[in-house]
């Protein structure tokens, strides 16, 4: 088994030896395709990060009636804490609400002053939710449940923009998948063509090995490894170039680069694409008994 693997690796290197021109040409082409894809990913990833930050800020605010005193409000907060999807509840007293208003809108404090000492902002409960519960449907039903509580006068939860935010995030995810599929198909065809040429160039070797008892897997393996290596190196090259370019423009356009998990995904995509390409390329070329 080990000797077989060593022989396959040796054959893979022999495949690559003597056709360095076409190997480099394919690598450059695969790398450039990945530069385009990676750039697209960086852009969508940054947009999605912004949107995610917005979504994470989305919570619910339950405004309480004037008749709800602090003790009743805190009891209500305990009830809300036990509801499904609720991560935490924070009670905002009228005095704290006013302080927050003054801190957030320092230019508009005159509004409060004009209303006089008798006016006070309503107390509220700020409800933070688990990520899974930030969908339109779940937030709608939770808001309805909160609105039915004694002492609650109004529930506000960003119903005006959250559905749009979710739609944009979903569309970006679909766009990434679509771009990935286009990339897989186009690079697979490039790799398939390279492997087809490699098999044709080494047809004598393949034929002689087949005649002397090489198994189908043994004949295919060097070309499959070549395809995987091409895809992997091409995607790594594309990532490296995109990271370099990203670093150079980051001073003028503030953004983040892809996280490690995404980069690993890109490398995996490269390897899979190379494998698929070489598999397609090997559909003809490996001798089979004629029936």
């Amino acid at each position: 088994m080990i000797h077989g693997i060593a022989t396959v690796l040796r054959e893979t290197l022999l495949n690559l030896r003597g056709k360095q021109g076409s190997v480099w040409a394919t690598l450059v082409m695969v790398s450039l395709s990945f530069v385009v894809f990676d750039t697209f990913l960086v852009i969508t990833w940054n947009i999605r990060s912004i949107l995610r930050a917005e979504q994470e800020n989305v919570g619910m605010e339950v405004f309480l009636s004037d008749s709800t005193d602090e003790q009743a409000a805190r009891a209500l907060a305990d009830v809300v804490s036990g509801m499904q999807g609720v991560r935490s509840v924070y009670y905002v007293s009228p005095a704290e609400a006013e302080a927050l208003f003054r801190a957030d809108l320092p230019d508009r404090t005159d509004l409060l002053d004009m209303l006089g000492d008798g006016f006070h902002l309503p107390a509220s409960l700020q409800v933070s939710l688990f990520d899974d519960y930030r969908t339109d449907e779940r937030m709608n039903s939770l808001a309805a449940a909160l609105g039915r509580l004694d002492g609650a006068t109004e529930v506000v939860w960003g119903e005006d923009y959250l559905p749009g935010l979710n739609r944009v995030t979903g569309a970006l995810r679909k766009l990434d998948i679509f771009a990935g599929l286009v990339l897989v198909i186009s690079i697979s065809l490039v790799v398939a063509n390279t492997i087809r040429l490699a098999v044709a160039r080494r047809s004598l070797t393949v034929e002689v090995m087949s005649i002397f008892g090489a198994s189908d897997a043994f004949l295919r393996m060097p070309f499959l490894l070549e395809g995987v290596a091409t895809g992997l190196l091409g995607s790594a090259g594309g990532l490296a170039f995109t990271a370099l370019a990203s670093g150079m423009v980051s001073t003028s356009i503030g953004h983040g680069f892809l996280p490690g998990r995404w980069m690993a995904g890109v490398l995996l995509l490269g390897a899979v694409t190379g494998f698929v390409g070489s598999w397609i390329g090997l559909r003809s070329g490996i001798p089979r008994p004629r029936r």
């Binding site: 000797h3 003597g18 002689v208 087949s210 002397f212 090489a214 004629r290 029936r291």
Partner: protein, 228 residues
């Protein structure tokens, strides 16, 4: 009676609508030397391809070393071919590999260890008188030497059957005689040999069984001799 090594039973093989061989029946015993003779296009190479199952019959059946053409699974082709050595008229040596590497090929594809490959290659090269050429590339050898390397490669994995397809076709008469002597000595050592040639006089009468082909069919040796 020993079980036959090769059995053809009413074998036919067509390529498109052209019948390359028809109704071929014969058998070869282990250790036998058979000469398959006939003019160009008679079907000699087709029969050799049917033996190593590069092609499968379109009618009838071929059985070689226990493998039946009607029941071949994908992995069986490799297993069968590891029991057969093949020598071609055009040698089919890999031009970018040394003599040693060419001879080692059948052993490497079978997954043999490097130490056993080296030992066997050195032994078989010594038997063929090629030890001094082991680092040479094929294009640095004479035609006779290249054919001996091809024979060494075919014999490397101790096959039970050696197929030789016009092994002297590209060689001068003197070298041809050496190659035929080599095949006969391999046969004397116990390996069955089937040699396809358009010139049966290369093998002395009485040293082999002769099978004559004419337009894809086996013909009676006496009748064949009369037409010559």
């Amino acid at each position: 009676m020993a079980e036959e090594l090769v059995t053809f039973d009413s074998v036919g093989r067509t390529y498109g609508s052209w019948p390359a061989v028809e109704e071929i029946s014969f058998s070869i015993a282990p250790g036998e030397f058979a000469v398959l003779s006939g003019p160009s296009g008679a079907g000699k190479t087709t029969i050799l391809r049917l033996i190593w199952m590069g092609d499968l019959p379109t009618s009838g059946s071929v059985e070689v070393a226990g493998f039946d053409s009607r029941r071949m699974r994908s992995a069986d082709f490799a297993s069968l071919r590891r029991k057969i050595g093949i020598v071609f008229q055009d040698f089919r040596l890999l031009p970018d590999r040394s003599v040693h590497e060419n001879v080692a090929l059948p052993l490497l594809v079978a997954g043999a260890s490097p130490a056993s490959v080296r030992k066997r290659v050195l032994a078989v090269l010594a038997e063929m008188g090629l030890s001094h050429r082991r680092s040479s590339l094929p294009h640095e050898l004479s035609g006779g030497e290249q054919q001996r390397v091809a024979v060494a490669r075919a014999m490397a994995s101790h096959p039970v059957l050696l197929l030789a397809d016009e092994p002297t076709g590209n060689l001068d008469p003197e070298t041809s005689r050496h190659v035929v002597d080599l095949l006969m000595s391999i046969n004397r050592a116990g390996t069955a040999v089937i040699m396809a040639t358009h010139d049966p006089r290369q093998v002395p009468p009485g040293m082999a069984r002769f099978l004559f082909l004419e337009r894809g069919r086996l013909v009676d040796p006496a009748a064949w001799q009369e037409t010559r």
